[in-house]
Symmetry: C2
Subunit: 407 residues, 2 copies
Amino acid sequence: MKVCWEQVAGGVTAPRGFRAAAVRCGIRQVETDDLALLVCDTQGAAAATFTTNRVAAAPVRWSRRAIATGRVRAAVVNSGNANACTGERGERDVATTAAKAAELLGFQPENFLIASTGIIGRYLPIDKLLEGLPRVVRLLDGSLEAGERFARAILTTDTTLKQAALRCDLGGGASVTLGGATKGAGMIAPGMATTLTFLTTDAAIEAPLLQKALKRAVDRTYNRISIDEHMSTNDTVLCLASGLADAPPVRGGTGAARRFEAALTELCQTLAVKIVADGEGATRLVRIEVTGAPSVRLAVAAGRAIADSPLCKCALHSGDPNWGRFVSAAGYACPPLEEARTRLFIGEKLAYAAGAPGPATEAELAAAMAGREVLLRLELGLGKAQATVWTCDLSKEYVAINADYHT
Amino acid sequence: MKVCWEQVAGGVTAPRGFRAAAVRCGIRQVETDDLALLVCDTQGAAAATFTTNRVAAAPVRWSRRAIATGRVRAAVVNSGNANACTGERGERDVATTAAKAAELLGFQPENFLIASTGIIGRYLPIDKLLEGLPRVVRLLDGSLEAGERFARAILTTDTTLKQAALRCDLGGGASVTLGGATKGAGMIAPGMATTLTFLTTDAAIEAPLLQKALKRAVDRTYNRISIDEHMSTNDTVLCLASGLADAPPVRGGTGAARRFEAALTELCQTLAVKIVADGEGATRLVRIEVTGAPSVRLAVAAGRAIADSPLCKCALHSGDPNWGRFVSAAGYACPPLEEARTRLFIGEKLAYAAGAPGPATEAELAAAMAGREVLLRLELGLGKAQATVWTCDLSKEYVAINADYHT
């Protein structure tokens, strides 16, 4: 599809009809905002995808039920504590949070999606959260600055702000805006929603259509990134639609629906790649394109094996063209692979073809791995399916961050 | 089964009827033996398991065919070069090696299993290997010292020698000896044979029975260890039987066959755990016991998810009782998991039960993770299947070793 979007400033408050805010309530030990609120001014549409981990955090279990009511129009988010593996007390803390937020805003509890990120297995300091809620409600604001503050408050070990917004041309002179904020930077792996992500749009769209578009967008973007292959207990991607754009409703099966989904996918892609680029300890962003696969599933499997292998990630870290690691990872992840048909490019250089090295020299391959961004292209020569998987390198800094995260 | 074995000194030359040797031929840059030879004095039985990686090294392809002839009685092994991803030239180099070894020993080429370990994607320096072969043949010797020299020559990034031998009581006053040597320490993951391993026995046993026993032993031991989840292109486990013990033949379906398999499994277990204990950069050996699983497959999957997660491995490295990482790894790997039925112990301390933390304190859990060996016990409460998976921690040293291995 031809590009039907352009980047615009801001994040979750870029579309019409959204207000956001964040405060510090003291859940995190560092002095930073750790409680955030996002509100849609209308009872529009909501869609969400959640972790497929059987150990789902209390806020995820709450939010699944809330989304099912079709009435979600706001999100309360805290960082610093995942409220996962916290049993009945965790459930109560979520219900208390939603009830208090509802009281403050004149909403119902089921209007709230609740999301948490941080350490697993510790009870939420609910008093601190409840103390912060009235303050964050008072700060609600539709400015781009408020959206940015929201985006900062959901971060944990991230080193960069992760937000983006697009204007989407729906055709016929109509356009809508989409915005979003996301967080990394550990427990990031494909196969589920991955991480906390809040998307907004001023499009008028029915919830079922929004849900379908969101699921496909997440499958193609968030589910194809990997930092450490560890699927979180808290992964949530929420999309709220206010319907306040000056554009006709987006209806299923139309060109406008296809354009909207393309823009939503682009927004998810932009945000997902920001996560990988800021992976814990990462120094390189790696794009793995797998083509000629017998199926998309096997293309993703081959790409993901490279993305997840610590041996591959170490070679990517040092910029060492030890391409045998990439080929052998594909070899155990993609059973139909045939060496004679397989080609591996690093950048534009052919590292491996017809079962043997070359023709590129080691110096050429090393040069192709020297930059901040590395492209690996694996041609399987078996079919027409393809997929792109994103990952980062594995550094000593990753070990340092994650060996000491808890204490 | 009651223990029917006892440890004895030595490795591959501990059983009767085996000679071994090793020399330096210059394939590795470091000054160490890199060419090894193991010969059975009789045309006994041979069994082997190989990598399931679709990118199989040239020596693996050769050895699969050789084993199928039923005539393997010797092995030529080199370290420093995997001869993988080397196309037709790689195939020719293996054939040349086998032909030369056959000429020197008066054997046929198909009497040789060939095994290589080292860098992938570089052509074997065949002239160096051919120069070394007559020297290694001249050194062949049945002493325990010769077996140890063989075991040292197959190592790469290993820091410790890995050999073991057992005497197995077959019942009725008869006993046989089993010996073995193995190597780590990277590209180690379950799901295939894993690494290069050479097992010997003086039992008289038919090849089909030996093959069945070996496959089951490998499935329960080598296929349940993980250092870095990267399946090698060269994994080979060979078992040769000379038949020279002073004991009646081991026949299928007898108590002697069960005892032999139990001892073979114990030998594989001993060698496999040595690999994990010497994982690249490893400082801790981790035993993950999963019980109450609906199936062995899911027990292994849950254990393996913990063993493979870099987040779990970093927590294990620092001895940080961040047990939420262990529980969440099981949660994405074992779909039937139910939080209410799940319990996680670190050592003897209960970290997580009925979906919530405790009752053990953080200090108690930290103490349980402080030693050189750590036990994680995950009780799923779903069924009767169980499995034990072994892994090691992830350290900055792993990154250092693997970021710089190639150059």
